[in-house]
């Protein structure tokens, strides 16, 4: 299996969250197929960019923001653009 690039990893993480509506950090780490070090790096990036948000009920839950949904919606446009201009 080819190594995923940064944009693919972000898409996969956001996709998992969307599929589950909201998810706890540990199952998300497991399902994202990343080392905990890399997962933490991406997780913080997604929080900083406001693609995901943390909510607290009994436990910490992660859910998608509007910006995160927009990323998933625009993902194929971004990839096509990068491919078209060989960026």
């Amino acid at each position: 299996m080819a190594k995923r690039n940064r944009l693919e990893i972000i898409r996969d993480i956001l996709f998992i969250i969307r599929e589950n509506h909201s998810i706890k950090p540990t199952p998300l780490l497991r399902k994202s197929n990343l080392s905990s070090f890399r997962f933490k790096k991406y997780y913080l990036e997604l929080l900083n960019k406001e693609f995901i948000k943390e909510t607290y009920r009994k436990n910490k839950q992660i859910s998608l923001t509007e910006k995160g949904s927009k990323y998933l919606e625009k993902y194929s446009t971004i990839i096509n653009f990068i491919d078209e201009f060989e960026l």
């Binding site: 625009k74 446009t77 971004i78 653009f81 990068i82 078209e84 201009f85």
Partner: protein, 239 residues
């Protein structure tokens, strides 16, 4: 009678063609407007894609067109002043103001091309991400040399060495690329963009160098930028 009529028609056509080839302030304004608007539309049209992806390639691509817009703004500024006062060289006419304007124009136009090259090459060069600072330094050196040595031969040498470097690097990189499908159309557009960028610079640095072909250069340059804008808008979408 027929001979006289023929001569009058011939003179009329000649004058008309001559007037068409003599480009005035209006043509400069329209030309600059087309290039600046195309560049800014590319810059702002890709804002959302960069905002979402933070992709370095998109970043350098956008910056390239921002620098194109700035460079063409200063280019049109120089051209309009020269046309308005009927002068050939800005530095001889307004030494300090002319030097500063020419310096800014040369720096922005060099950086526009370097950013475009970097947008395609960054993945190969990113082992040393400070390379972009090297390009800023090189653009500064080019701008300083353009002001210090006011010699057409020096201008010609610097710009064609640069053109050779940019096209050579671009083509070598593409030939080494393992990508299965390479975009032939993009390849041609980038090569023409690099070539006409140098012709536009030469047009400013060496007065009346391309007088006969100026309209052709303007139309082709506008066509290249419009083609780039079309490709960008087609990919980005209109929403």
């Amino acid at each position: 009678m027929e001979l006289i009529t023929g001569r009058i028609i011939g003179q009329g056509l000649g004058q008309g063609l001559g007037r068409l080839m003599e480009l005035g302030i209006e043509t400069e304004i329209i030309y600059s407007f087309v290039i600046i608007v195309c560049s800014l539309m590319i810059y702002f049209g890709t804002k959302e894609l960069y905002g979402l992806s933070s992709h370095k390639g998109i970043k350098y691509f956008r910056q390239s067109f921002l620098f194109f817009a700035l460079a063409y703004f200063f280019r049109s500024f120089i051209k309009i002043i020269l046309l308005y006062f009927g002068r050939n060289e800005l530095i001889n006419f307004l030494p300090i103001f002319g030097s500063i304007t020419l310096f800014i124009f040369m720096y922005f136009s060099s950086m526009a091309i370097f950013y475009l090259l970097y947008s395609v090459m960054w993945k190969k060069w990113d082992t040393n991400s400070k390379k972009i600072y090297l390009f800023h330094l090189l653009a500064l050196v080019i701008a300083i040399l353009s002001i210090l040595f006011r010699n057409p031969f020096i201008y010609f040498s610097i710009n064609f060495l640069l053109l050779f470097f940019v096209i050579f690097t671009f083509h070598i990189s593409r030939n080494q690329s393992k990508e299965k499908k390479r975009k032939q159309g993009l390849h041609i557009i980038y090569t023409l963009l690099f070539l006409f960028w140098v012709l536009n610079i030469m047009d400013i640095l060496i007065p009346k160098f391309f007088k006969t072909f100026q309209l052709f250069i303007y139309l082709t340059s506008s066509g290249i930028f419009l083609a780039m804008l079309y490709k960008v808008l087609k990919k980005v979408g209109t929403n």
